[in-house]
Amino acid sequence: MPSKAMIGRVLSTGSATVQAEHVAAFARALGDANPLYVDPEAARRGPFGTIVAPPTYPIAFMTQALAGGADVFLELGLDFMTLVHGEQEFEYARPVKAGETLTLTGRIADVYEKQGSNGVLDFAVLETEAVDEAGQPVFFSRNTLISRRT
């Protein structure tokens, strides 16, 4: 089970460059063919001058940039078989743009437990900050994971 001693620990850091093809594939998987996400020509003429990402794209980018995602769950002591995503929150300074390199820092923001109807539930809150090449914030993610203690 996750331990209170883990709170505040930096879990993972990483940098990656946002690939237009990755953004477009993500948008298509949502059935969202907004030209600013999938069409480089339309995006070039658009308000951002390049492909930009849909609002939930950071979840895919974090998975890509912070390799070893499954290890994080092991490290946290969350049971993969009962693991569910409880809550997700994003804050955005601006859209994520294709071609830029973002640096991510993920940390364990909180760990707690609740008595559920079906046993003890373990909660872990992971926070990830993304900054651009100039060190300016781009997005912030707060991810609450829940697993049932078996």
Binding site: F26, A29, P54, Y92, P95
Partner: protein
């Protein structure tokens, strides 16, 4: 694409134009798993999901949150979403037709922007709410 919310007329209680997605298929879940890099077999392998006590695979919460993202961008435009939060209250299953909905709860001015708070949710064909959350949209005032 013209955003649906007009900064001049936006008002508390106004509904965002709903967005209907689905019916969700197992192929949709496989495609989302691949595109998002989510390795959890709970969404792609029925036997694995049954071994974990579910009747079968269920949709990624983030797939539905992605649908809500499309709702918000249709309402306010790309780049207008400042904050976006959902709680995954109930599971979404293959076959569900998901309607994304939102309603304005607060309007406040900050500099040149009009900040619009919304409650947002997804519901299936039975009207069951699956994701519930809130968002802040920034509309640029002319």
């Amino acid at each position: 694409m013209i955003p649906a919310l007009d900064p001049k007329t936006v008002a508390v209680g106004q509904e965002l134009p709903p967005l209907v997605k689905g019916p969700i298929t197992r192929e949709d879940l496989k495609a989302y798993a691949a595109a998002s890099g989510d390795p959890n077999p709970m969404h792609t392998d029925d036997e694995f999901a049954r071994a974990a006590g579910y009747p079968g695979v269920f949709a990624h919460g983030m797939l539905s949150m992605g649908y809500l993202g499309e709702l918000l961008v249709q309402a306010a435009g790309v780049g207008a979403v400042r904050r976006f939060k959902t709680r995954f209250a109930k599971l979404t299953w293959p076959g569900d037709v998901i309607t994304c909905r939102g309603r304005v709860t607060r309007v406040a001015d900050q500099g040149a922007e009009r900040l619009v708070e919304c409650e947002i949710w997804t519901e299936n064909q039975a009207g069951e709410r699956k994701l519930v959350g809130s968002a802040t949209l920034a509309l640029r005032q002319a």
